[in-house]
């Protein structure tokens, strides 16, 4: 017996789609990959493998794992094609992404730029923890890293971000 029937899965997707989209938009910031494309592949893959979802983790965590694996594969393909980092910070653009008030645009852009400039592993943890609001146990389940290491990675990420934002002239 499936934990989620196809109908229940489709209903859940209407709720989870925007959240996953936000997380992927942040995760893929600065790359040439499109969050909607990745999300489409993720949901189709999930739908085809719904019988393998055993409910050990939440549905969202399971979907995030699938999306993460697809992104990693795409990053590898890009790296092989381009022979360079898949996240070129210089190509980072804000224009196509949703934003809040115009007055806050500058700071938001700099924050995003700083996040996009983090090393892949640290950016991943920042997105999951600070932006998507996952708990450390959930992140540990997805990445296979223990919680103490994740907290250390989060510390290093924040340290780099603080330095980067200071350089860019962004204060609290």
């Amino acid at each position: 017996m499936d934990r989620y029937s196809n109908e229940a899965f489709q209903k859940e997707m209407v709720i989870l789609y925007p959240r996953l989209n936000r997380a992927l938009t942040a995760y893929l910031s600065g790359s040439q990959l499109d969050a909607d494309d990745i999300l489409q592949d993720t949901l189709l893959k999930a739908c085809r493998n719904l019988d393998r979802f055993n409910g050990d983790s939440g549905l969202y965590t399971w979907l995030y794992s699938i999306a993460r694996n697809i992104c990693i594969d795409e990053f590898r393909k890009q790296k092989r094609r381009n022979g360079r980092s898949p996240v070129p910070v210089e190509e980072f653009k804000l224009a196509a992404e949703p934003s809040a008030d115009e007055s806050e645009n500058e700071e938001i852009m700099l924050l995003r730029k700083a996040i996009a400039g983090l090393p892949d592993k640290l950016r991943e943890v920042v997105v999951m923890k600070a932006i998507d609001g996952m708990s450390y146990p959930e992140i540990a389940h997805i990445t296979g890293t223990n919680e103490q290491t994740l907290k250390s990675q989060m510390f290093r990420a924040r340290k780099l971000l603080a330095a980067s934002l200071k350089k860019l002239g962004v204060d609290k």
């Binding site: 489709q10 989209n21 909607d36 924050l111 600070a130 250390s152 340290k159 609290k172």
Partner: protein, 153 residues
């Protein structure tokens, strides 16, 4: 000396974790007090702690309301794709589950029919057909032929 270094490294790792907790808002006032006290022995970490706590909220980079993310049209298209994909998956799953059972039932019925047919028609098959086509009818010609036979006798 090695033991002291290891202890210091362990303490640093622990404090890094606590700084992350503080930045995540997971520490209460007492916890923050203890952390700040412990950081006095690690000036470099103390500076990192101040820098991190002075940093703007990272969450502001991507608005809190996830509903503002994702192209509505793309979302609807993806959800339609999932609907049609799940129909295919259900069909295949149904076929996998029941096709084998159905084929066994059909095979069993066909075998039974083959076995029962000879029993049903044994010894009657040859007669049944002409009788149905030419039903028996008493005719004058036949009665006359019988009359002639009796006369000769």
């Amino acid at each position: 000396m090695i033991s002291s270094d290891a202890h210091s490294q362990k303490k640093r790792t622990e404090l890094e974790g606590k700084i992350s907790d503080a930045a995540d808002g997971q520490l209460d006032v007492a916890g923050i007090g203890r952390l700040e006290h412990d950081l006095q022995h690690f000036p470099d970490l103390q500076q990192d702690y101040r820098d991190i706590m002075d940093m703007p909220d990272i969450r502001a980079a991507y608005t809190a309301n996830p509903a503002s993310y994702g192209n509505d049209l793309r979302m609807r298209r993806t959800l339609q794709l999932i609907t049609s994909a799940s129909f295919e998956i259900q069909t295949v799953s149904w076929f996998k589950k029941y096709a084998l059972a159905a084929s066994f039932v059909i095979f069993a019925l066909a075998s039974m029919t083959q076995m029962l047919m000879p029993l049903l028609y044994s010894g009657q098959g040859d007669m049944a057909f002409p009788e149905l086509l030419y039903p028996y009818e008493e005719s004058h010609a036949e009665a006359y032929a019988i009359f002639l036979d009796e006369l000769i006798e």
